[in-house]
Amino acid sequence: MATSNWKSKLSAGLIYLLLLIWLIITGYPLIFMLQNSLKGNIEFYTTPVWSFTSFRVDNYQEVITSGFYWYFINSIIVCTAAVFIIIIAASLASYIIVRVDWQLKHFVYLLFVAGMMIPIHSTLIPVYKLTLSLGLYDTLAGLVGPYVAFSLPVSIFILTGFMREIPREMEEVAFIDGANYYQLFTRIIFPLLKPAIATIAIYNLTLLWNEFAYALVLTSSPEKRILTLGLFEFQSAYGVDIPKTLTALLLSVIPLLIMYIFFQERVIKGMTAGAVKG
């Protein structure tokens, strides 16, 4: 008993050591951004980037009071709308592909998966023309379409993977009880998919939050700008205010971080609720 206690303490210590090493490797960027965002532009160029040299909050004040706030709201609107549609469309489609038997299902699955291979930049000009002809140019709605389209294949790919692991028994029981496909989906599949849905929500949010190419060409007026475009306003042709750019970048991470923590809780809840324990 004593030895196993000693052993488990050692292994716990080892785990913490590993975690600590990785903590430094991944957590450092935040510190890097923080230490340099607190500097003035002149100071940035004259002090080592790896040091804390001052604690000015001027950059934060300036960034927050600039138009930045609106870019934030725009980003939140576009990304939530897109992620919302993605979750519904992808889980519905995955259900049809995995659970319903029909002839073309393998073909459709392959088609969606093939969508993952399309490089985003190659669709810029066709999508631009399409957006113009739909009258969606320079609107936030114009961004939602391509964002949803580009996130769907990966989301369907991940969701179908998870769905295949869910045992069929529960559905069969419900089916015998007279439930239709719609009820099966909303009452059984969708709740069971929660961890996977949280995963694709996080995944797509992080990608869309940082998306740039479409936002650049599909919107124009400053009041329709999203965050990634706004970040570039601190850079110009002849000089760069790096501390201010870093301030803006750091501030842009915060909402994502909050959402991540929130979703993280959902994942854990989903698993402790025992739904998947089967």
Binding site: M117, V127, L130
Partner: protein
Amino acid sequence: MLFLLPAAFFFLLYLVVPIPVSGYYSLFKWDGIGTLNFIQLDNWKRLLSDDVFWLAVSNNFKLVIISIIGQIPIALILAVLLTRKLSGVNFFKTVFFIPMLISSVAVAFLWRYMYDPTFGLINAVLEGIGLESWALSWLGDTGVVFYSIAIAVCWRFIPLYMIIFMAAISGISEQLYEAARIDGASPFQSFWKITLPLLLPTMINAVVLVIVGSLKYFGMVYALSGGGPNHASEVMATYMYTKSFTELRMGYGSTISLSLFLIAFVVSVFFLALTKRSIRD
């Protein structure tokens, strides 16, 4: 069938339509503004003998291999560690995900300063421990630049696979581990006997994601090196972008993008077919 409608709508409109359009453009010499000059298959012939394109293709495949070796195992280990019931795990989970949250502009910026040959942290550390000769110009040396970028890419994407694995592990029944413990299996044994086999489908999916992601990767390569110096770190997507939007050769750019699509498609279908068979056996 109605369930497919929303997905199919967006998918067809924004993703499927551009493909034949690219195919059409690839038959022309076109600067993106002026008239389209029909040149038959000249763009395709040129592509086949374009050394830079093939260099980019081989870099993409190198990136696939480095990413599979570098990302999947680390992500798996982290996921296993983080799904154990230890205090403080939530804190680690949050911090570990940070590289995915920060936009690639910022991540590239950070790594640019890590790699700076004069002021950079990496060289400072190497010189500090007496390994001056290892202090390279990480982004300036054509022999090294690609690997420097690949490391930064791995660093950025490990958290993604980490959460995918975590979600999958959380789906494994606790009772299985309980039973194994009663049978006297060590945590290490139960990892090999229970976690790993049950994670196999998820791992295959993760590998597919890595393959696809690496083949069409653009962001950090563009931000850190722009594909240079002297095309040393060129990948298909950066080459396509340079051709289309810097040199304004939209026709040739479309040719590259279509071949990127075809290559990625063939490779991942091949991989999926391969793994399906091996699972059945």
